[in-house]
Point group: C2
């Protein structure tokens, strides 16, 4: 007997019809892996992700190679992906820390960029060597120039739900920083639970607070880490509050180097399983995506932490 | 700087004030572990779980030792837990497959028992060597005698959301079997997603269907497996639908031997993290529980698959 395919498709009330998955594996994932992956493998990875139906794949980061040696090949990698953007079906945003990074990215034809801010002083100091306000002042001209060049700009906001040094992060502090990023022209904000401590009520409360501040939910994405196993429950809470952009990393690649845990980003496969069951369209072919993550895990020499990848790749 | 404790407590609308965790680690967890754990270790495990604040701990199973050799020591183990039930603060239900098992359990003073039924024909055949109706006929006199003896009876219903051989499981089929268990006198039903395929809309639909059939939600518990990473999101959906009894396994012990995956039951720690953040009372001391799961993982010789155990036990 051939079993009928699972999960059963049973929509739930109050959820969006479609979710845009912002795939961060090639950038946020590989940036936090110990091994440096060859450029050829990275290019094949992005192509495979696009072939699996992901339409937004954050490809790399134009930071100084000294800070993120894993992505030092951005200049070599990006041109190898030109066929994907030429067809227009796939967006390949890149991270840019400053004007120099923005200029390097636009010189190669990037049409979407992202900046990376922090909601907490300690992480701003450790990650950017600046106060929160100083880092916002650093990003303002980057965003202004990007908008002037007609680019789409995403603003990452990290440590929205907790900080490893400060502990709790007050909601008004997050709203204030989000407001600053929105006001400087970011088209989209990605709310990061960098250390994975959020729970669903906290997610709902932050989304409510941002809505009250006048930041519409269609400008918001969520970026959850699975450090405490909460990422998918938090995603469900976000979807119930109208969010339609969800960050995830194929195979659960990457993580936060400060969390000292085996788990990092929400695995794209675990997300797609849930959305398939809920009848929420993503355009992703789950089998092709799992095959891609298994292939990448082989190259990294360690198994994927994704539950769905583990289960589907061990099927009889 | 000492960070303030996380997760932040941010209640969400529409959730219960308190959840009763039905801890299944010593029975469902150890039953599905390869290693057979010494009786001394099992007794210490149950005592540690109770000391961590768990008030319902399924202790063992009075099945024939031939079928579940891991729990063949039920007669030796149960009397060693008498101090816990004597104080009245902890319930120690046990699984009983038939009248003989029930008599063995009650002879040792058990006040709560459980029977284990299947929503699908194939699993009933494989697990119980009977059709669904034949297995219900087998359980009816067990439940009747238990109720006559004044015991509390739980009815497990497995494969509620999918079956490895049949694939999809129609809701009416689940409702029919649940109704039969309720009608024969089960005080509580535990809805099992034995292979971990459920998604939140499916959970909501089954709870709605059972409510429509007149089975009140306060007689229902949910039993999710994390095979595809969905267990906690499904739990959130169940809580939003009024469920207040949630099964979980300390450290994520156990699993389904047929799923061929590394992951099994929802880890109690991942559940407690979410409920703490949501401000839902459980009475559980998370640090004591994590220490217990780390201790048990050492005895089993493999790390806990729980994300929360992994993260908290690797803290600096």
């Amino acid at each position: 007997m051939t079993p009928q395919p699972l999960p059963m498709r049973v929509p739930a009330a109050g959820l969006p019809a479609r979710v845009r998955i912002h795939e961060v594996g090639p950038r946020d994932g590989l940036q936090n892996e110990k091994a440096t992956v060859p450029t050829d493998v990275k290019a094949a990875f992005v192509h495979r992700l696009a072939a699996a139906g992901l339409t937004t794949v954050e490809a790399t980061s134009f930071v100084h190679p000294k800070w993120v040696p894993q992505l030092a090949d951005a200049e070599d990698l990006y041109p190898r992906l030109a066929d994907l953007t030429a067809e227009g079906a796939v967006d390949l945003p890149v991270l840019v820390p400053n004007i120099r990074g923005l200029e390097r990215a636009t010189a190669l034809g990037a049409r979407r960029v992202a900046v990376f801010a922090s909601a907490t002083e300690t992480f701003a100091r450790r990650n950017l060597n600046r106060t929160v306000d100083e880092s916002l002042a650093m990003f303002a001209p980057v965003v202004a120039q990007a908008k002037n060049d007609g680019l789409h700009v995403r603003g990452y906001l990290s440590m929205c739900f907790g900080d490893p040094w400060e502990g709790r992060v007050p909601l008004p502090q997050v709203v204030r920083t989000a407001r600053a990023l929105a006001d400087m022209g970011c088209d989209e904000l990605s709310l990061g639970d960098t250390i994975g401590v959020a729970t669903p009520g906290h997610v709902a409360a932050l989304l409510d607070a941002l809505a009250q501040d006048g930041i519409p939910v269609d400008r918001l994405g969520v970026h959850f880490h699975d450090t405490y196993g909460q990422a998918l429950a938090n995603t469900l809470a976000a979807l119930q509050h109208g969010v339609t952009t969800v960050d995830a990393s194929a195979g659960g690649l990457g993580g936060c180097p400060f969390a000292r845990s085996a788990t990092g980003n929400l695995a794209t496969e675990d997300l797609v399983w849930m959305l398939q069951g809920l009848g929420v369209e993503t355009g992703v072919d789950l089998d092709a995506l799992v095959a891609t993550s298994v292939w990448m895990a082989d190259r990294l020499g360690r198994p994927s932490p994704s539950r769905t990848v583990t289960a589907l790749s061990h099927k009889e």
